[in-house]
Amino acid sequence: MNPYVPQLASIDQIRDEVAGERPIKTFQLSFQDENPQNTFKFNPGQCVMVSVLGEGECMFAVSSSPTEKGYIEVSVMKLGKVTSVLHQCEPGDILGVRGPYGNGFDVEGWKGKNIVTIGGGIGQPPLRSLIRYILAHRKEYGKLDIIYGARTSHDLSYKQEFFRLEDSDDADVHLSIDAPEEGWTRFVGFVPDNLLEVAPSPKNAIAVTCGPPIMIHYVIQNLLKLGFEEDQIFTTLEMRMKCGIGKCGRCNIGSVYVCKDGPVFSYQQLKNMKGER
């Protein structure tokens, strides 16, 4: 079977997450054939290649949880050629999907641990998958801290979802925006500062971060300050990708291919990886 051939999937639903110059939309997709519909198994943190036939393909982290059956979701920022066309798509349109690719988060190994997710901007989708997975297996994990920020309140994705979660006992949600806004009573400042403010305990904890490279850099520094060990810190990386399966060459950091060996790496691994990123 040619691994580059996608399964056909239809867009069931499109939700506007963020408006403006760089809008973000969440696409809910379901496979047309019954077989992949039932057999498409993935881990939070894994990625899929989404095709707009005639335009091309892009790699996205799945933003829904594998516990949600019958569909997958991807959240997409309009940025390049394919994502721009994707943003013009409508419910009922047919896309191609292949995957899942990469390692994903070690949700099995993290059972019983406290989980801290630290996300910024469009880095939140893989973390949302993890969060929703934990919520669906709530008793199997310890405390869940969700730290998530964006430039303005209008740039926060999944806003209603996290507002609702603020009122529940299932998670502690710590949202932030970069600059003050009227009516915003939550944290104002950058995500790494919010992390220091929340100051989660490293005891029996795993911290997972995804966002702009500069944010990840300071988040990791602050996690170390808080006493997290290098092997308690995880991040998920992004690179330009074409094949998604370690053959086309471009997503390597040294001898490591982000598409198949990652995209999830511990800080311990990351620190020892030589190469451009």
């Binding site: 036939l53 191609g96 053959k247 001898s255």
Partner: protein
């Protein structure tokens, strides 16, 4: 029937018969440029050449290849081309044959590239090198001008005859029923072949120092050496197109109204667009990053991942480089470079 002799004038009969069973791809001289081409008659091929301009990988990993076609009329459908063609790849040099063994690692695996099926359906008839070219250095990277390690059948030009060895079952099958074309090799023939091999080895003048190359590179990633090497480079990517082990590719859609194809084309790590992300961010923004990545991919990353150097010493990249960047020099001088 292992080591046989075929008279040169009978070799066309062999190809003629093979053409009934196989698609034969062989070196063809196009006004001085020798390239692998499908042939319809034996008279089209030449076995008098040093090496093909474009390596043999182009037959199994085509420069442009349709991965699937699609139609978007009433419903959306995808069609995947069937590939069951039996190919006889004739006249492949030992370096190019070794390059396929290198490429096998990256294209095989759980998610198998279409290359793998093509490879299974292809029989390799190798051609020993009597006179290595000025930039050849296969003996530095595990090869040899007479190596038959990676071919199914090996041909050696020993004057009026070809010395022919069918080494694998795949190879033997091609020659099944052709015994009337051969006679067994005599001691004299074997001696002749050995002599020619020694001559070819003596003619191999250039040597790349690959001792501890993985470790040597490991410690000089940040060296200013790469910046110096990159000063000369034009970024034209000719080296990657001529390279038998370069496997980078791009995938793009060609479309007309309501139908189209996803096409795979060779790409090059020497181009800035290769790694540039939609945000504009590029992890390898400078030529230095790209040339260093190319050298590391072949002599550090690939050996680390697959335990094999991704260079077969064909010398093509040296010959085609418009500014004389010489990979042998680049590697040899890493010994003197500051870490």
């Amino acid at each position: 029937m292992e080591e046989m002799i075929i008279r040169k004038e009978k070799f066309h009969d062999l190809v003629e018969r093979a053409l009934k069973e196989y698609t034969v791809v062989a070196p063809v001289d196009n006004e001085g440029v020798v390239l692998f081409r499908r042939i319809a008659t034996p008279s089209e091929l030449t076995l008098e050449f040093s090496n093909t301009k474009i390596p043999a990988k182009s037959i199994l990993f085509q420069q442009t290849e349709t991965l699937f076609t699609f139609s978007q009329r009433e419903s959306v459908t995808i069609d995947v081309p069937e590939d069951s063609e039996k190919v006889l790849l004739l006249g492949i040099r030992p370096c190019d044959a070794q390059s396929l063994a290198v490429l096998d690692h990256v294209f095989a695996g759980e998610l198998e590239d279409p290359y793998v099926k093509k490879r299974e359906n292809t029989v390799l008839i190798g051609l020993s090198c009597l006179a290595p070219e000025i930039n050849c250095f296969c003996t530095s990277v595990g090869g040899s001008p007479f190596s038959a390690e990676y071919t199914d059948i090996q041909l050696t030009d020993i004057g009026e005859n070809y010395y022919i060895e069918a080494k694998t079952d795949k190879g033997k099958k091609v020659l099944d029923g052709m015994s009337d074309l051969f006679r067994p090799a005599t001691e004299e023939d074997t001696e002749k072949k050995k002599e020619l091999e020694k001559k070819a080895l003596d003619a191999m003048k250039r040597r790349m120092d690959t001792d501890d190359i993985v470790d040597r590179l490991e410690n000089m990633f940040e060296s200013s050496y790469w910046r110096k090497i990159a000063l000369k480079c034009l970024g034209c990517a000719a080296c990657t197109y001529a390279c038998p082990t370069c496997h980078c590719f791009d995938m793009l859609d060609e479309s007309a109204v309501a139908r189209g194809a996803r096409v795979r084309v060779w790409d090059s790590c020497m181009y800035p667009e290769y790694t540039r992300q939609a945000s504009g961010y590029n992890p390898r923004p400078e030529r230095m990053n790209r040339i260093r990545n190319r050298v590391y991919h072949k002599f550090n990353y690939y050996p680390k991942n697959w335990d094999i150097i991704a260079c077969v010493g064909c010398g093509r990249c040296i010959s085609v480089c418009p500014v004389n960047i010489d990979i042998i020099d680049v590697i040899n001088r890493t010994c003197e470079a500051e870490p």
